[in-house]
């Protein structure tokens, strides 16, 4: 077992502490009284967790693909089941993303959450433990426990603190995700029966028959595709996003969606490489469809939150596209795009929450002409919208460029087909920006959408500067923090890319090795030929 691991050499169990601090924080929160105290307590706990996670960044050994900071405790010897947690270049960034986004989730709920504040903070802290658990587990059972453990707090966040259609949205979220997880559980059990271990690195090293790989791949991929979400499994996302409170949307967008991508990289690719190659063309096509459909649907939305939710579908399409290109640039781009989406879309949801608190509406036609009234807000909105449309110099550009580079390198035609997604991203973000900052020229004028209002209807009718205060210090703090990442990743992503470099090289090696030895090579050969032929065909037409 040790050949896969580097045991934790820090003088404290860093990963277990990351899991325990929010959990203990949640337990303590049960005994605290007073809303303000609750808020400060939750903020303190999440901040401490973030601080604890910092050594993951500077003590991380970038030269090895082994799992690091590992803690190993024997747990259930009869089933060969151990408590084992660790991170590699793929998960470490997602762990850091989680720990740093969580304090912002508390801050953005500061005034947004008005009822049951204590419960909200407890649930959010539990959520943090579960999410971190998913990223650090090196054992399928542990992974599954945390994966399912995430579902309940998220369900509660939507169902209790959500909007008017929260029941519908929360049930939909629960059923979709749960349906996916069932298949995941089946494949975990199947893998255990086949190999006798739950330990993920050992599962990766095992070789399986092609048919078995296919079943495992399909079962896992379904679960992860729902989580991503990929077209056509994406319909839960807009509902959940629109109804969730700001913090819920931020958690969903920044972290939960990343679990699908993480699952693909951790399970599907290394455990079932031959099946991955076999299914690659289909998943690439699904990704392209997600990119285009997500972007196209976003273009038609009048509800800002829905717009961003559909844009997430498009962005996640770029992630799966990058993953299934199975080359270095593609997977790096996908990884970076996951981090970027976490930063940018998280910020956009914070921005929407912020304007919703003021106008009690998420309609574009109500929240317009803000340019003159809220200059600070509009500046941040501009920065994050541009980041979302992959403006050069911002974080998303690097991710999108790498994915496109990976695509054009391997299948130029696929790259060309992803370009409309980039155009659509520019179209819907600029449309939103234009309407919110300046204009109400689409004829709707100022009206209030009753679906979304709770509170004083008269207030929102024709807002003016008395109603709309610009961002306060707390809000500026959250947004400024994320802005740093927009430009840092946008202009100097090398430290992040270095961090994932070795692990991704190792992953690609695993996938290539697994597929070469296997008889499925012929199968994937045919499919490669299919894509290449399509390319040659178009080329011959153009050259004619």
């Amino acid at each position: 077992m040790e050949k896969y691991l580097i045991l934790n050499t820090l003088n404290y169990p860093i990963l277990s502490m990351l899991l325990l601090v929010p959990l203990i924080g949640a337990v303590v929160a049960m005994f605290l009284r007073g809303d303000t105290l609750q808020k400060f307590w939750a903020l303190a706990v999440t901040t401490v967790t973030a601080v604890i996670s910092i050594p993951l960044w500077n003590c991380f050994d970038r030269s090895t693909a082994k799992y690091q900071f590992v803690e190993l405790r024997h747990w259930f010897p009869a089933l060969n089941l151990d408590y084992v947690v660790g991170v590699d270049g793929i998960s470490v960034l997602l762990v850091l993303l989680t720990t740093f986004v969580m304090p912002l989730c508390i801050l953005c709920s500061w005034t947004y959450i008005q009822k049951r504040i204590k419960e909200f903070m407890i649930v959010t802290l539990l959520m943090e433990t579960a999410m971190l658990g998913v990223f650090v587990s090196l054992n399928t059972v542990l992974f599954y426990i945390f994966w399912e453990g995430m579902l309940v707090p998220m369900y509660l966040i939507i169902a209790i603190w959500g909007g008017d259609r929260k029941d519908y949205a929360s049930i939909k979220f629960f059923l979709y995700t749960f349906a996916g997880s069932i298949f995941l559980l089946v494949s975990i059990v199947a893998l255990y029966i086949h190999t006798g271990t739950f330990f993920i690195p050992e599962l990766m090293d095992h070789t399986y028959g092609f048919a078995f790989q296919m079943w495992v791949f399909l079962a896992c991929a379904l679960g992860f595709a729902i989580k991503m979400p990929m077209f056509p499994f994406h319909t839960w996302l807009p509902a959940a996003h629109v109804q969730a409170p700001t913090a819920g949307s931020v958690i969903l967008a920044s972290i939960l969606l990343k679990m699908g991508g993480y699952g693909f990289l951790r399970f599907c690719l290394p455990i079932a490489p031959a099946a991955t190659f076999y299914c690659m063309p289909y998943l690439i096509i699904m990704s392209l469809v997600s990119i285009i459909v997500g972007g196209y649907l976003a273009l038609g939305q009048s509800d800002i939150k829905k717009l961003i939710a559909y844009s997430s579908v498009g962005h996640m399409g770029f992630v799966t596209l990058g993953i299934f290109l199975l080359n270095d640039a593609g997977i790096k781009g996908a990884m970076l795009q996951m981090i970027n989406h976490g930063v940018t879309t998280g910020a956009l949801f914070i921005l929407i929450g912020l304007i919703y608190e003021r106008t009690h509406s998420r309609e574009l036609s109500v929240n317009n002409k803000l340019g003159m009234i809220m200059p600070i807000y509009v500046t941040f909105l501009g920065i994050f919208s541009l980041s979302s449309l992959a403006f050069p110099g911002t974080n998303s550009f690097v991710g999108e460029f790498l994915v496109l580079f990976g695509a054009f390198e391997k299948y130029p035609l696929v790259g060309a087909m992803a370009i409309p997604g980039a155009i659509l991203a520019a179209a819907y973000m600029l449309r939103m920006l234009q309407k919110m900052v300046w204009d109400d020229s689409d004829g709707h004028g100022h009206h209030h959408d009753d679906d979304h209002g709770h509170g004083d209807h008269g207030d929102a009718h024709g807002h003016d500067s008395h109603v709309l205060a610009d961002c306060n210090f707390r809000e500026i703090l959250q947004l400024a923090f994320l802005t740093i990442f927009v430009f840092w990743i946008g202009l100097h992503p090398t430290p992040l890319l270095d961090m994932m470099d070795t692990s991704i090289a190792h992953l690609i090696h695993q996938v290539d090795a697994g597929s070469v030895v296997h008889d499925a090579v012929q199968h994937h050969g045919e499919h490669h030929a299919l894509l290449n032929q399509a390319g040659a065909w178009v080329k011959s037409i153009v050259s004619f």
């Binding site: 541009l386 403006f391 050069p392 110099g393 690097v398 460029f401 790498l402 496109l404 580079f405 054009f408 390198e409 130029p412 790259g415 060309a416 370009i419 409309p420 980039a422 155009i423 991203a425 520019a426 179209a427 600029l430 234009q434 300046w438 204009d439 020229s441 202009l491 100097h492 992503p493 090398t494 890319l497 080329k539 153009v542 050259s543």
Partner: protein, 497 residues
Amino acid sequence: MNTIITSKIVLTMLIPMVTGVLVMFSGKKPNLRDSWSTLGAILTFASVLQFLPTILDGTQLQYTLFELYPGITVKLNLDGLGVVFALVASFLWILASLYCVGYMRGLNEHAQTRFYVCYAVSVGAAMGAAFAGNLFTLYLFYEIVSIFTYPLVMHHQDEEGYAGAKKYIVYLMFTSKAFLLPAMVIIYVLAGTLDFQTAGIAQGIFPAEADRFVVGIAYLLCLFGFAKSGIMPLHNWLPDAMVAPTPVSALLHAVVVVKVGVFSTCRVMLSIFGTNILHETGLGIFTAYFVSVTILTASIIALTKTNLKARLAYSTVSQLSYIILGVAMLTPNSITGGLIHIANHAFAKITLFFAAGCIFVASGKKDIGEMGGLGYRMPFTLIAFAVASLGMIGAPPVGGFVTKWYLALGTMDIHNWILLCVLLASSLLNAGYFVPIFLQAFFGKPLPEDEGVTGSLENKPLIMFMVVPLVITATLSVLVGIYPDLFLNLINLMVKS
């Protein structure tokens, strides 16, 4: 050729950006705010000027700011071509910032602080484009120019402003995402880098074994991707963007924005693809014919426009294509002719727009038909206008003549009488739409309500803020025709290497 690594060249780009910030924080004090603008412009020009001797020695200045990925960096590299554009744009910014004071205050425009901030940042981004050392940096600044000129186009915030601005951003963003982004990826896949070839204009950056078909696709994507250069059929944003206040039309849509487009196109042709590949694949001569269509069509459309600014806009579309035509003919003479037109057109066209804006502020007239007899009431303005028109037509001794001379030499070099005819026909067309304007102004019949009014319109102090700059630019457009040596030397550094 030597290259000096120096962080000083970042300064030129930073000064306008800092100016923008200072302007933003002094919005409550108009005099201070407008002084910042002018001071920023002077400092920017001075900072470009200090590099001039070094560049004239044949040395290039270089600095890498950030590395995103191997071969993709934010890198500045100043050479002859970059310095021509930077000199012209920064110098004209000084005059334009004075002119802005007269225009914006003369019309009592709203949101002047926003206007000056965006104005300064746009110029700063244009400096960045001029100094760009690779395609990514160029793309970065190109896009920043698009974003920050958007509020300027919709400055009036009326229906027309929104419509024009929407068209503007849709054209520019669509082309850059749809064409430029894939072009950049393809170039990176083929060449492994986006850095410009700084050693010469012949060889480009592609390895010898690169598939010529794919290179050709990348070239076409670049040609259409830089929609700011106004090549038909992607020119439509330009006339509609004229809803912007005239100083914007003058500096941005005659000098900064469109020149960023043309400059980028030329830069990509010369420093990414190189004349060898363009010649070998026939893409050079294809481009020459393609832009010839724009030259002639835009001139014909200009004939039909009676609104002065609209006519100038189509004239811009037509004149911009001269620059690309010159480069596309791929001979030393024609490239010189094309690139020097960046300067010549800038001086003449900004004069024309300044004059149009001055006429509008002083008399409220936009249509050419209303301008009868105006020449006697605004003599300086309209004489400057006439001089600049001669530049557009290509009559000596104004700068435009130098352009046409070199372009004609270029057509002779490649023995192409079709392109020579295009040049001659377009000169006639230019004359056809410019001459009637000053004929009308000096000899036309005044409108009934203007009959007998003879007082000068140019003696108010605010108007003087506009007349002085435009007289200076008109004088300069003659001077660059008589002494073209400075720009010729700079361009020769590029062409002869």
